[in-house]
Symmetry: C4
Subunit: 318 residues, 4 copies
Amino acid sequence: MAAKKIPPATKAQDDTRDFGLGSKITQQTRTRFLNRDGSFNVERTGYSFLRSLSPYHALLSMSWAKFHSMIVLSYFLVNVIFGFAYMLCGPEALQGSGATTLAGRFLDSFFFSIQTLATIGYGKMSPSGFAANIIVAFEALTGLFGFALATGLLFTRFSRPNAKIQFSEKSVVAPYRDITGFMFRIVNERQNQLIEVAATVTFSRMESHNGKQTRRFYPLMLERQKVTFFPLHWTIVHPIDEQSPLFGVTQRELEDSDAEFSILLTAIDEIFSQTVHSRSSYKYDEVVIGAKFRDMFVPSESGITRVDLRRLSEIELV
Amino acid sequence: MAAKKIPPATKAQDDTRDFGLGSKITQQTRTRFLNRDGSFNVERTGYSFLRSLSPYHALLSMSWAKFHSMIVLSYFLVNVIFGFAYMLCGPEALQGSGATTLAGRFLDSFFFSIQTLATIGYGKMSPSGFAANIIVAFEALTGLFGFALATGLLFTRFSRPNAKIQFSEKSVVAPYRDITGFMFRIVNERQNQLIEVAATVTFSRMESHNGKQTRRFYPLMLERQKVTFFPLHWTIVHPIDEQSPLFGVTQRELEDSDAEFSILLTAIDEIFSQTVHSRSSYKYDEVVIGAKFRDMFVPSESGITRVDLRRLSEIELV
Amino acid sequence: MAAKKIPPATKAQDDTRDFGLGSKITQQTRTRFLNRDGSFNVERTGYSFLRSLSPYHALLSMSWAKFHSMIVLSYFLVNVIFGFAYMLCGPEALQGSGATTLAGRFLDSFFFSIQTLATIGYGKMSPSGFAANIIVAFEALTGLFGFALATGLLFTRFSRPNAKIQFSEKSVVAPYRDITGFMFRIVNERQNQLIEVAATVTFSRMESHNGKQTRRFYPLMLERQKVTFFPLHWTIVHPIDEQSPLFGVTQRELEDSDAEFSILLTAIDEIFSQTVHSRSSYKYDEVVIGAKFRDMFVPSESGITRVDLRRLSEIELV
Amino acid sequence: MAAKKIPPATKAQDDTRDFGLGSKITQQTRTRFLNRDGSFNVERTGYSFLRSLSPYHALLSMSWAKFHSMIVLSYFLVNVIFGFAYMLCGPEALQGSGATTLAGRFLDSFFFSIQTLATIGYGKMSPSGFAANIIVAFEALTGLFGFALATGLLFTRFSRPNAKIQFSEKSVVAPYRDITGFMFRIVNERQNQLIEVAATVTFSRMESHNGKQTRRFYPLMLERQKVTFFPLHWTIVHPIDEQSPLFGVTQRELEDSDAEFSILLTAIDEIFSQTVHSRSSYKYDEVVIGAKFRDMFVPSESGITRVDLRRLSEIELV
C-alpha cells in the first residue's frame, strides 16, 4: 500500500462519477434515468411491500379520486361492521327500531351506526343493555379517531406546498454572449410567489474508459444558480466554455452517448414559508442545438411589465 | 466559435442584469416594479384562471370579511341543497315534522339538515326510510369533511407567521462616517421577537447602452447584511463609496433614470421557529438626499432603553 | 465629499458597534439589556396596544392558567349570550322546557345552548319556530369554529417545540490550555435530543471615546461554535488570547464598564425537526474570575458515561 | 500569563477532542457511546423525572400499543369519573333512566357520560336539574378538548417525518482507487424520496497521552459529504490516506483502542419538505478489514436500473 500519491478527498468530490447518487452505474440503457415529471426511472426490489410502505406518504400521493373512494368505502365498511355488531346484540338492543325482518333490522342497525359514528344521535333509536352501550362507546371512539385521521389527511393533502414549476418542452443550445449556452426556461404556473429559486443541473453520458462503457455525470456551471425573486420567468443558462463537457458537442454525439440533463430546483414558497422541490430532465432528443427561446414579454398599454406564459416553450432557429 | 476569451461563469454572476429575476427587462416604464406592500407590479397572461389558481393560497390570502362570507354562504347553500333532498324523499321521510305546507316542509327539512350537518341531532325530527337515512349518511360525511377543511383554513389563517415589518416612509442619503450612505429604517410592528433578520437591497435604473435603453440592476453592499437580534429598530445602510452605483448621484439623476430600490428581508419568527419574508421598495421620489433620520430613543426614568416607534419615518435635513 | 479613503463595507461589518441590533446605544444604564430568561429589557412606545398586538402570539405565550380561564370564560359567555337569544324567542321556542319562571326559562335556554354549541343535542328540549332554528344554525357554526380555534391553540401550545436549555448560574474565567478562557456551561433539561447546537456570544461594555461614553459590542471567538450531538453538557469557551477584548481584564474593570455577555443558542429539536432558540446573558457580577467548573461526570457501575445535572453550576476557585 | 504563543481559536476547532459534544471523556469503557439504533448510551441523573419530562415528546415516542392503551384507558376513566358525578346528583338527575339498583344506576350514568363526552346525545336519557346540566357543560368541554389533544397526537404520530434509513450490518475497509477506504452502505427503506442526503462520520478511540488514557475523536473526511438524489443506495467512503487516523490500522489495533465510528445523516424528506435525521455507529467488531461490498445492481429485462435491497449488507473478502 504505497501512499505517495493519493487522490485527495477534495479532488475526489469534483470527480462526480455518480451524479449525487453514491452509486456507480455501468449498465448501458436507453431509458431515461429521471423522468420529466421528476420521478426516478429505477426499480428497487428485495423488500416486501409492507416494509417499504410508508402509509402516510402513500395516502398523500394517491389521486384525489382514489382518496375519496377510499374514505367513502371505509366509512361504509365500518358502519356495516358496527351495524352487524348491534344486530348481534339481539332485537331488544336497539330501542325505537320497529323493524321485524332481518333485512329491516340490519338496515336500522346500519343507520343507527351511522348516527353514532358521526355522533349525531337523533335518539329515535337508542342503545339498550350493556352490550349495545359498550359497542356505542367503542364506535364513538372509532368515529372520533377515524374522522380525525381522515380529515387530517384531507387537509394536509389540500394544504401541502406543491410548487407547480413548468419547464420549457425543449432545451436549446443558443448563442450566449460571445459563445453559446445550454438553456431552458421555467415559469411558476401558480399565482403564489416563489423566492430564492435555485437550480442544479447535471449532465450525464455514456463514456468509453479502457474499452468499458460507464455512465459519467458532470455538474454544469450556471450563469446564476439562484434568483431572489421569480415573478416572471427564468432562463437557466449553462455557458458552454472550454471547460464545459458540452464544448463543441453535436446533436449526433449527444444521441450516441445517450446524453441526459437532470435538473433539481429548490425554492421557498412564500405563503408556506417552506422549501419546495421540483425535478425534471431533458434527454438528448429534447435538446435543440442552434435555436433560441422567443421573448415572452408582450406589450401592455398600462406600461406594466407583462409576460405571456404560453410562449414558454416557443423557440426559433438561429 | 472562438473560445479564447470566454466570460467566466463566476464573473457573469456579478453582472446582474436581471435583478435575481432571470429575465432581462428592456421595456421602458415609469411604473414601479415592486410595490411598497411587497407585491410585484407585473402581469402574467396566457394561462387560464383555473390553471394558475392555487385554491389553498387563494383561501389563505383573501380578506377575513371575504373568508367569513364564503363560509357562511357555503354553509347556507349546503343546507339548502340537503334540505331539498330530504323534501324530495316525501312527507314521511322526516318523522316529527308537523309541517303541511310546502314552505313549512322545506323549512323543516332545512333545519333538520342543519341539525344533521352539525351532528347535533336533537331527534325531534328524525329520518325515516332508506332514502332519508342514506342522505343523512352522506350529509354527516360532508359535514365532517367540510368543517374540517373550513376550520383547518380558519386556524391556518389565524396562526400563519406574518411578520409585520414596517419600513420608514422615505429613504435618505445621509452622512455616514466620512462619506455618505443610502439608508432606510425598519421596525417590527408586533410584539413577537424576530431574530437573524437579513436584508438584500437592489438598486435598478434605466441606462443607455449603445443607444438602447436597458434597465440594469445592482445589488448594494450593506454595512451589515444581518442582525442577530431585532428588539428595537434597524437602520439599514449602504455606504456610498467609489464602487457604489450611487456614487455622486443627484436627485435629478435618480428621477431621470427611473431609479428604484427593491428590498427583501428575511427573518426568523421565534414563536413559530419559521422563516418569514418581507418585501418593499423605494422609488426615486421616496429618496431624500441630504437628510438623516432622527433618533428614536426617548429618555426613560427607569434607565431602560426605550424607543418611540412613531419616530420611524422622522427625518431632518442636514 | 472626498472619496479617497473610504472605510470598506466589509471592514465596517467587523466594527460591530451595535450588537446585531442595527441601533447605536449611547445611553448609560446599569440595567441589563438582555435578561437571563432571554427577554429583552427594552421599551417600545408609540404604537397603540392593538397595533402591536399579535393575537396568536399572545395566546401562545400566556400562562396555562390564564389560557384555561379564558377558554372557560368564553365558553360560559357565549352560552349566556345564546341563552338570552333563545329566551327572547318566546316561551314556545324551546319545546320540552317546562320552566315557567324567568330564572327557570333562562337556565333551560342556557343549558339548551350548551347542548347545541357542543353539538350534543339530547333533544329533550328542541328548537321550535323560525327564529330559534336560525339561532341554532348560527350557534352550531359558532361552536364548530370556536372549538376549532380553541382546540387548535391548545394543541399548538402543547406541541410547540420549546427547548429547555439550562445555563450555569455563573460564568467563569478559568485556565484554558496555556492561557485562560471565558466559560459557561449548558445542559438540555429535557429528555429529547437536540442536535447541531450553535452558540453566539457577544461581549458589550461602556467605553470612553473622545470623552463620550458609548456602549461597544464585541462578538467573542469561541473554541467551537457548534456541536453535532448534545447528549451530555457543553462547556462553551472563549479563549482569552491577545486579540480578545477580555485580555487581562479584572473583575473591577468588568464592573466599572458595566460589562454584559449576551448569548444566542440555536439547535435542532430532533423530534420536531425544527430549529429552536434560546437566549441568556451574564452581567459583570455573574462572572467569576479565577474559578473553574467542577467535573459533572459521576462513576457508574455499568461503565456507561453518566453525568449529574445538578452539578451544572458548581464551580471551584483555582 | 504569558501571551506570546497562544493556540489560536481556529486551530482549536480542528483539535476535536470532544466529538461535537463539548464534553471531554476520559473514562475508559467498553460500552458503545452511540447505539446502532441512534440512541445515546449515556445516563443523566440529578433532575427529577418531572423536570426532565417533555410530555409531548414522550407521547410521540411511545409505542403504538402503549399509546392506544393509554387513550382507551383515559376514555374509560374519564367516563367512570363523570358517571359517578351524575350518580351523585341523585336518581332524578338522569331522566329516562329506568335503573333502580345502584349498579344499574351507575351503568346508566356511565353510558350517559359516554353519550355526552362524545357529543352523541341520543336523548333517551337527558340531564335534569342544575347540577347534572352543569356537569354536562363541563363534560362537553372536557370531551372536545380531550379528543382534540388525543386526535392531534394521533395524527402527529401518524404524519411525523420518520426517515427509515438502513445501514449495512458491517462496515468494511476495502480497496479504493490506489489506496483503501473505510466504507459502509445505506438505503432508504421507504418509497418516499429523500434528497440532499449528507453524512458526518466521526472516528473515536482511546489513546495514551502522557500515560493517561483519553478518548479522542476524529472527524473523517469523506469522498463526498452529500448526495443530491438518493433513489438507489449510497456507499459512504472515507479514503484512508496518509492523513487519515485509520492509516495502516489493523483489526487488533481497532479492538485494543476500543474504536467506534459514529454517523449522523441528515436529509430532506420531499413529501414533508422537512429535514430528517438518522444516527448510527459501528463498533470495532463491526468493521471488516479486507472485504468489499457486493454489487447491488441486478439485471432487468426492461433495461431500467434495478437494485436488490436485500444485498445491502452482503460483503466478500478481497
